[in-house]
Symmetry: D2
Subunit: 138 residues, 4 copies
């Protein structure tokens, strides 16, 4: 379904969900800001597949903050649509992790996104990404 | 403007703001869930007038959690409308504080609400409402 | 799981989902306003089971607006918790439909809610609830 | 306050508001998705200064949809902070309008953003940006 070339070094995850009524705006399509938590939900699932639950990371003082985010919207999503968000961990090195995302409605690509997360401690200072999540750039 | 009988014992506050685009739904009116933060914003202002800033209360381990909330919606609000929310601290005794709210667009009453907050410590245990916010039922 | 007495006359539905990060607040629990769309999502599923898809109803000019809503919060939900919301159509007669809701985390009841919806046409005027959704009070 | 070089050809606007409690996340800072409506609110004000009220544009069948959005987060905002968002209409030509944004807390630049909007009609087809909003690239 996705055009992202996959490789064993690049972990991926997918989530499926229905567009909520409150996520749509007076133009009767999903509000563009609604895509932000959708990407985050996919990222949470990816972490879970890597045996790292974000809630547990926070409990031991490891946080990820979004440093950059960009999105491109191609076609609108509508209320009650079933969407799939696919996330791929593109690179993680040093204190940063990069992800790319695709939002699909069946065979239609609705939107793409990229984020850069920075790893910080409880005081907000940069710290290395945990070993288990590190990969060399592939 | 308000039909709530005021009394010196009942502190009140008002806020004014514009309805955001993302707060409206495909029916082209403000989503009913949008009224929840509006009431909270008015409550924050009321605290500020009582020389208690909620952010500072949390910093010293005093939290308020919403235990009950009820709302009645009479007329719809629309995108870009300028609304006024008026809050009144109805009663505060023991571990609870009760507030009532009115949402107005000029002379039109759009909605009313009531909340009961419980005062808790950082561990989530009930604790007395701070002295400065206590009043006998009037 | 639920303490709501069920009866054949009262249609019910359940949804399951994970609490999103953005649905939680600085107190590190689900924001009380987050429960509003959760109840709505359960209601959407109930309609679907009654062979009425809300999106299709809107397409033919039948809308439901929330006239009243009340919620009671017993225990906090946390980020990444798997919750179940159970909805029951309590009564529907004339131009109104009443629903009750329970929010569970496994065997723990976290919150209860009630809503009254009014059925309106595209112009916002009250109109009878569609026959298929009508029931006598049981 | 801003480092954006201003020019008479580039209309700008500013809004000021307090960070809402529900806009903050368990990390006790403003959720990154919260910046999306903040930028939109500034854009709405800019339109108002150009004698074009977005609500009125929609009423005559002129809509703007977000085609691209990118944000860079430098420092966190916190609950109850008073923030200023400054928007500048960078370019508008053909069917597109580009804006840049800065989010400030007093003298601290917290975030920057860019959006590209596409002008569409009620059917979602691209249409020229209204004359009054057109500028040559400066």
């Amino acid at each position: 379904m996705s055009r992202i070339p996959t490789s064993p070094e690049h972990p991926t995850a997918e989530i499926q969900f229905r567009v909520r009524y409150c996520e749509c705006d007076p133009m009767q399509v999903a509000y563009h800001g609604s895509y932000v938590p959708w990407c985050e939900m996919a990222r949470t699932e990816l972490l879970r597949q890597q045996d790292a639950v974000y809630r547990d990371l926070e409990a031991v003082g490891i946080y990820f903050v979004v440093a950059r985010m960009s999105m491109r919207f191609r076609r609108p999503a509508r209320y009650d649509d079933v969407l799939t968000v696919r996330v791929e961990a593109l690179r993680s090195h040093g204190v940063k992790v990069e992800h790319i995302y695709e939002v699909w409605r069946e065979q239609e690509l609705l939107a793409t996104a990229e984020t850069t997360l920075a790893c910080v401690d409880a005081a907000g200072n940069l710290r290395p990404v945990p070993e288990a999540m590190l990969q060399s750039d592939a």
